[in-house]
């Protein structure tokens, strides 16, 4: 195991980890405000990928326009899902909302299956992301370096919004006590919609970078990363944005390193990520950055 390989894999792992982190943030924020595990979130990532695909490959927009528009459009999709599927069940039992989330997941997968077909589509990678740089003989794909940087930038913007703006304060307050916030005159539904919008926006960003790294997209591509991002959110402490990012990194890096250090166990790499999660939860049930679940704090 020489240094070159370890370094390459570390960069890969951090890159993969930031993708999981971006998607995990959506899970954790939605859970924080309405105590719902949005199982459709992995599929929202898929929606973002397909919107970007349509933008570049079918509408021939310049890549930055297509990507930005797709993230905004996916944010809208997230808000629509909330308004149509989750809002009517705001006061229902949590099981009902959970089942609805699974239903939305199936709906999105099959809708895109019907519209785009089951054969994987080639995601068009803009040339700036496609190359690789060579540092002293160690090769790093551009995308593996750009991804964590972009993810950090957006994470920083999100933390700024959460801690330095009024809506951010409302989101944090909502995760503590929804009724009191409502009494305070805050438009709770609007704040929840913004949470979904932000989560979906970031999921689309994660999806686009995922599609540039592994350019074969199909309607079922969101399932496994969605599950892993959920595991990452729980690992980092569900309800905590920083925790989601940290959880994402841990899962991403461990997944890549397992295959790099123990090639014979490559088939078990998914199991390893989830085993790790179980192990941490045994000793710290609220996750790494987690607070008591009912006090839930970003």
């Amino acid at each position: 195991m020489n240094l070159t390989i370890v370094l390459q894999q570390l960069v890969n792992g951090i890159s993969l980890g930031s993708l999981y982190g971006l998607v995990a943030i959506g899970y954790t924020m939605v859970y924080g405000v309405i105590r719902l595990i949005n199982f459709a979130h992995g599929d929202v990532m898929m929606v973002g990928m397909y919107f970007a695909f349509v933008g570049v490959a079918m509408l021939f927009l310049p890549w930055w326009a297509a990507f930005l528009l797709s993230m905004i459009a996916t944010a809208f999709v997230g808000v629509i899902i909330d308004r149509v599927a989750y809002k009517p069940l705001r006061n229902a039992s949590r099981i009902s909302a959970l089942i609805t989330a699974i239903g939305v997941s199936f709906f999105l997968e099959n809708l895109f299956l019907v519209v785009f077909g089951g054969v994987p589509k080639a995601f068009p990678v803009p040339s700036v992301f496609g190359g690789a740089i060579n540092i002293h003989g160690v090769i790093f794909p551009n995308i593996a370096i750009i991804t964590p940087i972009v993810a950090m930038v957006f994470l920083a913007m999100l933390l700024f919004i959460l801690h330095k703006t009024k809506y951010g304060m409302a989101m944090r307050a909502l995760s503590l006590d929804m009724e009191t916030v409502r009494i305070m005159g805050v438009n709770v539904d609007m704040v929840i919609s913004i949470v979904f919008a932000i989560g979906s926006f970031l999921a689309a960003l994660g999806g686009i970078f995922w599609a540039m790294r592994y350019p074969a997209i199909n309607p079922l591509i969101g399932i496994m990363p969605g599950l892993k991002a959920f595991a990452a959110a729980v690992l980092g402490g569900i309800g905590s944005v920083a925790g989601a990012a940290i959880g994402g990194f841990i899962i991403g890096v461990s997944e890549i390193l397992v295959v790099a250090l123990f090639p014979a166990l490559a088939g078990y790499k998914d199991a390893f990520a989830f085993l790790f999660l179980i192990f941490v939860l045994l000793f710290k049930p609220t996750g790494i950055m987690g607070e008591d679940l009912e006090r839930g704090r970003f």
Partner: protein
């Protein structure tokens, strides 16, 4: 008066039901293919081939319509088993064509075997699919042959003395074909310098690529499917891996080139069919009609699917058309001899259910599939 009227109505209805039963002479055939999922490109291509074949020969010799009932197995084993069960127990089909991949065919085969309904696969190449079974057959060659063709080609034509192998752990096709290749390659005197594993759902191959790079083989053998090979090639080229990649018939789909782009140029693979190797009158006719309808050449999946259809109808004709029993149809499938099909002359060994066929080698050159050579058994 009312009772007489209702009695007459009942008689008319009964007569028309009997008449329609006798008139609607048809033979129901179930088709289980992956129209969505991991290998959707194969199922969709196969269905095109089968539909064209059906339009070329829509009825048996006695006029019975061949009714194809298609079920999507989504590329999954459980769905295949369910589909085969449903077709046999609810739709009462007399034969089943399917599946595409060896893993899925293996999942459906025991059910067809139990109900004694003939199952004919167009493309599953793992030997286990027909081993020990009397009702499962195929119109394609099997992997021990395909593996040795690949080994001989890389040894003789590519002058490779060492090879690295990539095995898709959860696909029987990949595991079987890899072992067949390794056995044949070692027999020729070659050395396998590394064996790496991955799963169908994996998208990141950087760890495997690092391992392969450190061993510096002459070629890489990756008996996998088009999506995995395309992704692997992209990443391999990015990391500076320059070796030729040799694959099996699972590589052949347009999606390989669409997803792989420039990275898959040079990928060479063994397969069942090439339009330039077309030999029989039926294959010339099929090629002409396929090009006219779809404006492109048929690939192996479409050609093999058509052959499965033609071989089946040939057996149905010999077994008596609409009156044929599944058992008789199976007998005539197994005794197919010198049938001039789309992919060549097909003879099925009655003892094993396997077809003895030639292999074709193709490669990707400048974004297109080109013919390299034919290898006879």
């Amino acid at each position: 008066m009312k009772r007489l009227f209702s009695f007459l109505v009942a008689v008319v209805v009964a007569l028309s039901v009997m008449a329609s039963g006798a008139m609607a002479k048809e033979v129901k055939v179930g088709v289980v293919w992956p129209m969505t999922g991991l290998v959707a490109a194969f199922g969709q291509s196969a269905w095109r081939g089968a539909k064209l074949a059906q339009s070329m020969e829509p009825t048996a010799k006695d006029g019975a319509k061949i009714h194809l009932i298609l079920l999507d197995n989504k590329g999954m084993k459980v769905e295949t088993a369910n589909a085969v069960s449903k077709l046999i127990t609810e739709d009462h089909v007399k034969a089943i064509i399917g599946a595409i991949t060896s893993s899925n065919t293996l999942a459906g085969a025991p059910i067809a075997e139990r109900y004694k309904i003939p199952m004919l696969t167009s493309s599953a190449t793992n030997p286990l699919v027909t081993k020990g079974k009397k009702y499962v057959s195929r119109v394609c060659f099997i992997d021990p042959f395909q593996g040795s063709v690949a080994a001989k080609y890389v040894w003789n034509n590519l002058h490779a003395k060492t090879a690295a192998v990539m095995i898709e752990k959860d696909q029987d096709y990949s595991v079987g074909l890899a072992h067949a290749f390794m056995k044949a390659f070692k027999k020729l005197g070659g050395k396998i310098v590394s064996v790496s594993f991955f799963q169908s759902t994996d998208q990141d191959y950087s760890a495997q690529i690092s391992t392969i790079k450190s061993k510096n083989p002459d070629i890489i053998y990756m008996p996998s499917y088009y999506q995995e090979i395309a992704l692997f090639c992209r990443q391999a080229r990015q990391y500076g891996l320059k070796q030729t990649i040799m694959a099996g018939d699972g590589a052949e789909a347009d999606a390989l080139i669409k997803i792989g782009g420039k990275a898959v140029n040079g990928v060479t693979f063994t397969t069942h069919y090439d339009p330039h190797a077309a030999a029989t009158p039926l294959s010339k006719k099929f090629l002409k009609l396929f090009k006219a309808k779809y404006h492109e050449d048929p690939d192996a999946m479409a050609a093999l699917a058509a052959d499965a259809y033609f071989v089946l109808v040939n057996a149905i004709n010999k077994a008596g058309g609409a009156k044929a029993t599944p058992k008789k149809i199976n007998y005539y499938i197994r005794h197919t001899k010198n049938f001039k099909g789309v992919t060549g002359v097909i003879t099925i060994d009655p003892k094993t259910g396997n077809a003895i066929k030639s292999a074709v080698i193709r490669k990707v050159e400048n974004g297109k599939f080109v013919y390299v050579t034919t290898v006879n058994p």
